[in-house]
Amino acid sequence: MNLQIRHEETNGVHYLTLAGEVDAYTAPKLKEMLVPLTEVKNTQIVIDLANIDYMDSTGLGIFVGALKSTKKNDGTLKLRGMTERVKRLFEITGLTEVMDIDNEVKGEAR
């Protein structure tokens, strides 16, 4: 399987839209894209995971690394649109407590 990454910048906010799988094979690709962004001071990053149907712990590691790096550089990292399976991974590992996660689907009344 593969990982597609779309990167857009609007009003200084970096939007990454991912599709496919984030696992040991595709994680380096995400890391290469994400890490340089997190190393810039005060960067705002929003990552959309709605089209990620599988993530393993190596993939999760990339987000942990990105979180540490944004914090160090006074930036923000927001994840959104997780599928149930991906959400469960973030919940079990306790990362939902320390990361900015918004799983509300746009337009959905809650």
């Binding site: 040991a24 393993d56 942990v64 690394g65 306790g94 407590e97 320390v98």
Partner: protein, 335 residues
């Protein structure tokens, strides 16, 4: 006649037979012959050169153009031969590296091996199998007078870095004997060690518990580890053993919560790594319910046989190719 001369002679025979009969058997012999060539380390350009010599003998009337064309082919094959020899030397190098990894893996096994303790009141079974040579899962038992402590951990990342990290965990745990009785404090201390020492992308999930063999209580705390199961014999039900807490190595100040379970005879504590529940088959993921069903099917057996049976069934479902390290551990109260 040395082997090389023999081979040239043999090549001539094979080629003549083929040219005369053009049958399948001769072709098949030719294929087998190439193995002989590799064994004798005869390079591709040598083979072409033998071919030219044999043709010159068999067809003395070959046109000049044909001869020139063969010389041209010979030049082309020289470059090919270089690449082939380089490939051979890389293969040798790879074999050396593999044997070094083999040594490292067996060292890891020796360093990290944990004896499964024996106590009258508990039946304990463990199965831990790496997907590759080095295991990223870790389990450890420590037996004291009135208690048994157990840790199950999964180091994120695979292979050698994970193995090195695991050694660190083991020695950090060994150096925290006074916290062994308090699962949440042990995790808090371990978390600080990990946070300071691992690469930002790496983290560790762990479930640490202490079984008090006097009062049959299991005290535990979790750091983002895949939940285990608790089997209650009285109601004949399995429940998830949640132990919420952040994975080790993310935030230095993380606090952990302690949980406890009272065990009656026949009750079981089942701990596992995500290699058990995240196992993928051609039909999709294996759900936690299916793991429970497998345990239930086998639970009349001794603990070690239960974990072995579950492993073999999951291995079969994955067509004998583990994608992730597998660790399953069962503590069953006997009396």
């Amino acid at each position: 006649m040395n082997d090389r001369d023999f081979i040239i002679d043999r090549y001539k025979d094979l080629l003549t037979t083929y040219l005369n009969g053009k049958n399948e058997t001769a072709l098949y012999k030719g294929q087998q012959f190439s193995r002989k060539l590799i064994e004798q380390q005869i390079s591709p350009e040598d083979v072409v050169s033998h071919h030219i010599n044999v043709l010159n003998e068999l067809f003395p009337d070959m046109t000049e153009e044909m001869k020139d064309a063969f010389d041209f082919l010979l030049e082309v094959m020289i470059g090919y031969g270089f690449a082939y020899r380089e490939h051979q030397s890389l293969r040798t190098r790879q074999r050396q590296l593999e044997s070094e990894i083999e040594v490292a893996a067996s060292m890891q096994q020796t360093l990290l091996i944990s004896d499964v303790p024996t106590v009258d009141s508990l039946d304990i079974g463990v199965k831990s199998v790496p997907a590759k040579k080095m295991n990223g899962d870790y389990f450890n038992f420590v037996k004291d007078d009135k208690s048994i402590s157990v840790a199950v951990a999964d180091i994120i990342g695979k292979g050698i870095p994970a193995a090195l990290c695991m050694s660190m965990i083991k020695y950090a745990m060994d150096s925290l004997p006074e916290q062994r009785m308090q699962p949440n404090l042990l995790l808090e201390n371990l978390n600080r060690v990990v946070e300071q020492n691992v690469h930002p992308n790496m983290f560790i999930t762990m479930l640490y518990g202490l079984y008090d063999t006097d009062v049959h209580k299991f005290y535990y705390a979790g750091a983002g580890h895949e939940p285990g199961f608790f089997y209650k014999a009285a109601t004949d039900e399995f429940e998830d053993m949640f132990a919420k807490g952040l994975v080790l190595g993310v935030s230095r100040t993380t606090k952990y919560k302690e949980y406890e379970k009272q065990l009656d005879p026949g009750d079981m504590i089942i701990l596992l790594s995500d290699g058990v529940t995240e196992c993928r088959t051609s039909k999709g993921f294996i759900e936690r319910d299916e793991i429970v069903a497998l345990i239930r099917e086998n639970m009349h057996k001794p603990a070690q046989e239960i974990v072995d049976s579950v492993f073999h069934e999951l291995e079969r479902l994955q067509e004998f190719e583990l994608r992730d390290d597998f660790t399953l551990l069962i503590l069953k109260r006997m009396v």
